[in-house]
Structures are given as C-alpha cells and as structure tokens.
C-alpha cells in the first residue's frame, strides 16, 4: 500500500467506502471476545429487557473499529496522526454499517503535509451512528 500524494488529493475527494454485513448477535459476541468488553447491554437479551430496552445493541467502539478499517484500507496505519469519533446514535442488531469518508481540509501540521477527513458510519437508511474525523499525513 502506498501513501497518496498530497498534491493529487483535493478537498471534497471521497475515499473508498464499504458496507458491512448486518451486525448480528454473533458479531457482538465476537467483538466482546476481541475487545474484552462483555457488558450485558451488548450480549444478554434478558438483561436489556429488564432495563426496559427492546434488544441488545452494538458496542460503540465496534463502529469506530469499522471506521479505523476505512482509514487503513486507504493509507498504511502509520500515516494516521489522529482519529476521533462522536457517538451519536445506537446501532441495533440487523443494521448494516455504511462507512464513508471525504477530504475536508488540506493542512500542514508539525511540518507534514496532511489532510483532514470527515468519516461517517451510518445505517442503510442514512441515519448517522458515528461521526469521526481523522488527520492523515500524505506523501
């Protein structure tokens, strides 16, 4: 994988997007194993019903991990300078996550040519679940 050339990238450019498989209970069990987060809100139907909620829902950090993949499919990970996300809505079992990103700013930071990206993780109806931004150093 090569790092894109700063001069060749323009504000408004979109990076390659993807849509995940629907988030399943198995996905959440696997994420609990991989992340170490076994909170019952994500795993235990009896527990969430006792709390008055309709169903288990995805770990917020699962969506951020998907957006991390979006970045590392575009540039090698060592090019990422910062990556932040705001969790805006809950992701329910059965929803597929549409992960997209676009360049919103070209900047110089600590002597490096960088771009700022706006990233979104949304369901297929267009409801944003997570809004993120990342600064990536280019060649």
């Amino acid at each position: 994988m090569t790092i894109p050339n700063f001069e060749a990238i323009n504000v408004g450019d979109e990076i390659p997007s993807f849509t995940t498989e629907p988030v399943s209970r198995l996905t959440l069990a696997l994420y609990a194993t991989g992340s170490g987060d076994h909170h019952p809100l994500h795993l235990d139907q009896d527990y969430v019903r006792s709390k008055g909620m309709k169903d288990v829902f995805a770990h917020g950090m699962l969506g951020m991990a998907y957006l991390g993949r979006l970045l590392t499919q575009w540039v090698p990970q060592e090019a990422i300078r910062s990556f932040g996300v705001r969790f805006t809505a809950i992701t329910w079992v059965g929803e597929s996550m549409v992960c997209t990103g676009k360049v919103v700013e070209k900047l110089e930071q600590n002597g490096e040519k960088c771009v700022r990206l706006e990233l979104t993780c949304a369901n297929e109806q267009g409801e944003a679940k997570h809004k993120a931004d990342a600064v990536v150093a280019l060649a």
Binding site: Y31, G34, S35, D37, E78, G84, V85, R86
Partner: protein
C-alpha cells in the same frame, strides 16, 4: 446532582498491558479485518513488522483492560446505568505490536455540563508509553445522563 469539579485532576490508577496475537486475531475477526498484518504473525513478519500490528482503536480496549475500568466514574458517585460513551479520540505517535508492554497513565482532565446539568461530561486523558516512549494518547469523554 452535579459532579463536584474537585475531581478534575484525579489520577486513574496506572496499569500495563501486553497485547497478544491471540487477542488481536479475535479483534480482527470481530471487526471484519482482512489484512493479515493485523492477525497473522507470519504475514506481519513477511511485511517486515516485529509482530502483529495493533489496530487504531484497540488502544481503547487495552485502556479498559483492568479490574475496574470505570473506578474514576464510581469515585464521583455516578450511576453506571446513566453512563454513555460520548466521544473517543486517539493521537498516534508510534506503531505498536503484539508482545509490546504498554503503560497506561490516566487522569481526569475536565468535567462540564450542558442543558442545565441534564448532560454531564467527564473527560479522561491517558498517555500510553512503551519503555518510556510515548506511543499514543487517548481522550475518552463519558456522558452522564440526569
């Protein structure tokens, strides 16, 4: 009830984590990762890496990898049932790999509220280092609903 701002500056007990290739393999499977440098030791070695590469958001998992990851929230008298993860920010300095021993050193750096206290925000900043070298900074913003 508003959280007492005297908790700004509270130190979180430090901890150390050594990520393993085994754990990262499950994280990769869970997140749909297909690039083998994130889960296959042989592929990482072939790519010239000292070990399986720790992916960008796994620092959060390691920060949580302790007996009481929300001890600082409990110390403020907040109800865990009203707690939400509001924001998560990472700043990266160096790549890290399975087998590295990482030190996590955190502190509560801000407490503020919005909507007349209906939403309160607790900001925790954590510095992650490997043998004294800074590798990553985390900022976690926890929201407490009224």
């Amino acid at each position: 009830m508003l959280i007492d701002k005297k908790h700004i500056g509270m130190k979180v007990p430090p901890h150390s984590v050594t990520p393993t290739a085994w754990q990262l393999k499950w994280f990769a499977k869970a997140t749909g990762e297909t690039n083998p440098i994130y889960f296959d030791e042989a592929a990482a070695a072939k790519a010239g890496l000292p070990g399986v590469l720790v992916p960008p958001t796994f620092f959060f998992c390691m920060d949580m990898d302790k007996d009481e990851p929300f001890d600082y929230i409990a110390a403020m008298g907040c109800d865990f049932g009203k707690m939400l993860h509001g924001e998560q920010i990472f700043t990266y300095h160096k790549p890290v790999y399975a087998g590295d021993t990482l030190d996590f050193d955190g502190q509560v750096t801000d407490i503020y509220d919005k909507k007349n206290g209906a939403l309160q925000f607790i900001v925790k900043d954590v510095k992650v280092s490997r043998q004294g070298e800074a590798v990553c900074d985390l900022r976690t913003v926890i929201v407490i609903r009224a």
